[in-house]
């Protein structure tokens, strides 16, 4: 029905859409999601052929093929025939989107060419559950929800084949939003719909396909269900994580840095925690695999640690029976289990402290054969018992810089600087007083932070945290968990979180797996 090919638009030197390719077929509802300023509205206007009314010096290249006709090449009067009768739009509900001095009924009626549209309009309004008597009101007398219904009534009244919805549910309260979503679904059957929104709930509820836009580029697309349950592009994941949805339990997490798009390389690299050299130089192409399209040099979020078929038997008791899982970049995977379920054994196996009977461990897709300093540079662990983890004979500075000493990679001053930096990252002072104090001077919360700082000083990619907060008071625990969350957002740390506490698991995890009788199972949290 609608096929967009390499669509580029610019105002003067300012390029907004940077080569979009996607398709909307009949009965498809395609959600275009992304933050404001990514070009969603521009896309909607480009399809309607209205862009040049919005801004001067508009340039459009590429194709917008609708039923075989390239809309971008049509003249204004040819477009007029297609507009609304074939393609209609529900604009974002901004002030003055409806003419303030004309009763809304008249504004709907002017669409119908015939003089006798009243019954058609009344039918339509009835379908929307909109009292017909209210239709003679002026826009300022209507609530946001009512205005939105008026606009929907307008958009669907000529029964067009293709409808564009631009933020149809923004600025609505919860109830009106759900009500409207229901109406949109009903009206949209048998039609092709493009839904531009930053409201992920709406997108997830209405659409069957999703296109994720960032900085005028499509960075990921696929079926809505896939994209939302298993986002593969770091940006998509960040977007979903930062959205307060009804079902997510993990604390909200933002995306590092500020929205700002670069034109060199991947548009997301300044904010991407797994960017590599090529990301800064070359723009990744949208490539397809398994029905999902993704634009990333690393084919999406990378698995940092992959554990496969790990087995361990102790005194004839099989503790781990063929355990496999991946920990991805920037995610927290929680292993939930009772004490004695083998979860600590598992962590120690990954750290190379215990040898498994069978199975292998890969780090960034490379099989780990020996646990040398290179491995520990990338994988660090924090333990439950902080007092045991820190030697009482070393002061804070010495404790924190200990890993650097082992790696022998920095001069003395550099080590002090690095220590001060990680300490400030975990919210501890970098003063000499503090640096030269000893563990017994510090509180439990402070000690745990020192331990975290020590784990972070090598900038590891993976942090394995074994009950890191179980010894802390709840108020301190909350602070430490928040801190870990924050560090993850900034560094893209992959975290393997080991706990027996379901409440903690709910708050910190992207995914939770439960270990029981040596078997690991995905646990869905609601």
């Amino acid at each position: 029905m609608l096929k967009v090919k390499n669509l580029r638009t610019s105002y003067g030197k300012n390029e907004i859409l940077k080569g979009l390719d996607f398709e909307v077929s009949k009965e498809d509802i395609v959600a275009v999601i992304g933050e404001s300023g990514t070009g969603k509205t521009t896309l909607a206007l480009a399809i309607m052929g209205l862009l040049r009314y919005q801004q001067d010096n508009v340039k459009i290249s590429g194709e917008i093929v609708f039923n075989g006709i390239d809309l971008s090449r049509l003249k204004e009067d040819e477009l007029k025939k297609i507009r609304w009768s074939k393609i209609s739009i529900v604009f974002q509900n901004v002030d003055n989107i409806l003419n303030p001095v004309i009763p809304v009924f008249k504004q709907i009626k002017e669409i119908l060419n015939s003089n006798d549209g009243t019954s058609i309009i009344n039918d339509m309004l009835e379908k929307m559950d909109f009292p017909v008597s209210r239709a003679y009101a002026y826009p300022y007398q209507l609530s946001m929800g009512e205005k939105q219904k008026v606009m929907l009534a307008m958009a669907y009244i000529l029964n067009p084949e293709f409808v564009i919805l631009d933020e149809p549910t923004s600025a609505l309260d919860f109830e009106s939003k759900n009500n409207l979503i229901k109406i949109i679904k009903e009206l949209s059957s048998q039609k092709a719909v493009l839904l531009a929104t930053h409201d992920l709930d709406t997108a997830q509820n209405i659409s069957n396909k999703t296109v994720v836009l960032y900085g005028g580029n499509i960075i990921e697309s696929g079926s809505t269900k896939d994209v939302f349950t298993n986002p593969r592009h770091p940006y998509t994941r960040g977007l979903i994580r930062s959205y307060p949805s009804e079902t997510r339990t993990k604390d909200l997490q933002g995306i590092k840095g500020n929205p700002g798009f670069t034109d060199n390389g991947c548009c997301f690299w300044p904010r991407c925690t797994q960017a590599i050299q090529i990301c800064k130089e070359e723009k990744p192409l949208l490539t397809e695999s398994n029905g999902r399209k993704i634009a990333c040099h690393r084919y999406g979020i990378i698995p940092l640690v992959s554990v496969s078929r790990i087995k361990k038997t102790y005194e004839n008791r099989s503790i781990l029976k063929s355990i496999s899982f991946d920990v991805y970049e920037g995610e927290t995977l929680t292993i939930l289990g009772r004490s004695g379920s083998g979860k600590t054994t598992l962590a120690k196996i990954i750290m190379g402290l215990i040898k498994p009977d069978d199975g292998e461990i890969c780090l960034e897709n490379m099989k780990v054969t020996c646990w040398d300093s290179a491995f520990y540079k990338k994988v660090q662990m924090i333990f439950q018992d902080t007092r045991a983890a820190l030697s009482h004979r070393l002061n804070i500075l010495e404790s924190v810089t200990e890993p650097l000493l082992i790696q022998k990679c920095k001069s003395n001053e550099e080590m002090v600087d690095a220590a001060k930096q990680v300490l400030s990252e975990v919210g501890l002072p970098g003063s000499d007083d503090f640096l030269y104090s000893y563990p017994h001077h510090l509180s439990g919360g402070e000690l745990q932070r020192v331990v975290i700082a020590r784990a972070l000083i090598l900038s590891p990619r993976v942090l394995i945290a074994d009950e890191p907060t179980s010894a802390l008071d709840p108020s301190i625990q909350a602070k430490v968990l928040k801190l870990l969350n924050q560090i993850q957002e900034q560094r893209g740390l992959g975290m393997l979180f080991i706990t027996h506490d379901l409440g903690v698991a709910r708050k910190v995890s992207d995914r939770v797996m439960e270990i029981n009788n040596g078997i690991l199972k995905e646990k869905i949290l609601r």
Binding site: L45, M48, L50, Y53, Q54, K80, K81, I82, R83, W84, S85, S88, I89, F91, V94, D95, N96, I97, L98, N99, P100, V101, I102, E110, I111, Y138, Y140, Q141, M154
Partner: protein, 322 residues
């Protein structure tokens, strides 16, 4: 609306009370203040009585005030010694010309200003727009009496096509159709120069309103709906530009009356209120001056009142805000 009524009535009473108070606050008694020191000596008995009955100087101030109100409502505005006529009658004979001239000028100029403004704003930056814009800017730079004089010289003297002054040809003996056409011919010059003077402000305002209105989201929606150009231009953008236009015209009404009557009527010796006021100033004919000003303010008040009703009609949001 009720509140408005009250404020109009209050304004009305303030005006007539001022009219009552001013001659009485001047030094001496009001009659000599208005008619001059020696007036009582020169006048015939009838006139004296007429004047005395109008001013009632021998009565206390309060009853003077009520008697003044009573005579005012009877249409007694005083007596002009210069014209030897009651002021009320005098005004009745001058008023219609002004009303006609002003009414026509306001209606016709508003129509053109609005249409030109819409077309010009809609075609922003195109040739027609620039042509209209610059020519109207230039023409609005001239003072109004200058324009009137230009019209007078060009059409009246150079072309000799139109009568240059008055409202009708004296002693012409025209009858029937002749009277009407003679009357209309006399109207052409003052009317067209007044229209010419009144167009620019309305045009500029409408054009500006259009420029901002065509950027409004509802215009984008109207375009998306595939409406015809003229429907978008007049039905949507123009409809909204009407609001500031009417507001501005309402506010300018006072100025329009002054420019209209005073300058234009003076230049063309058109026998309206402007000429009357002008002459009464020259002749120190205070009763006429006082009466005319009272009537003019009253007129402005009435126009404002109708404007208020009109605002609500064209901008439904106003009613809501009250």
């Amino acid at each position: 609306m009720n509140k408005r009524w009250v404020s109009y009535i209050i304004a009305f009473f303030i005006i007539i009370s001022l009219n009552f108070a001013i001659p009485r606050l001047l030094p001496g008694d009001p009659v000599s203040a208005i008619y001059g020191e020696d007036v009582m000596v020169k006048l015939s008995e009838d006139v004296k009585e007429y004047i005395n009955s109008a001013y009632n100087i021998d009565k206390p101030v309060i009853s003077q005030y009520f008697l003044y109100l009573a005579s005012l409502f009877k249409g007694n505005l005083g007596y002009s010694l210069y014209y030897k006529q009651s002021v009320g009658k005098l005004l009745m004979s001058y008023m219609p010309f002004t009303l006609l001239l002003m009414g026509l000028a306001v209606i016709i100029s508003s129509f053109f200003a609005f249409i030109l403004g819409i077309e010009s704003g809609w075609r922003r930056g195109k040739k027609i727009d620039l042509f209209l814009l610059y020519s109207i800017i230039i023409s609005s730079g001239f003072p109004s009496f200058f324009i009137a004089a230009l019209f007078l010289i060009f059409f009246g003297i150079t072309l000799g096509a139109l009568p240059m002054q008055g409202a009708r040809t004296a002693y012409s003996g025209f009858t029937g159709f002749g009277i009407t056409s003679d009357f209309l011919k006399h109207l052409v010059l003052p009317l067209s120069s007044l229209i010419f003077i009144l167009i620019p402000p309305g045009y500029f305002l409408t054009r500006n309103a259009m420029l901002s209105n065509i950027k409004e989201p509802y215009i984008l929606l109207a375009r998306a709906k595939g409406l015809s150009d003229s429907k978008i231009r007049y039905g949507h953008a123009g409809r909204n530009s009407l609001i500031p236009f009417v507001t501005q015209t309402g506010m300018r009404m006072g100025t329009i009356i002054v420019t209209g009557s005073l300058f234009i009527e003076m230049v063309f010796s058109y026998p309206g209120m402007g000429s009357l006021i002008y002459n009464s100033i020259l002749n120190r004919d205070y009763p006429v001056l006082q009466g005319s000003l009272l009537i003019v303010t009253f007129l402005v008040l009435i126009i404002n009142f109708f404007m208020d009703i009109l605002y609500v009609k064209i901008d439904p949001r106003i009613k809501y805000a009250h």
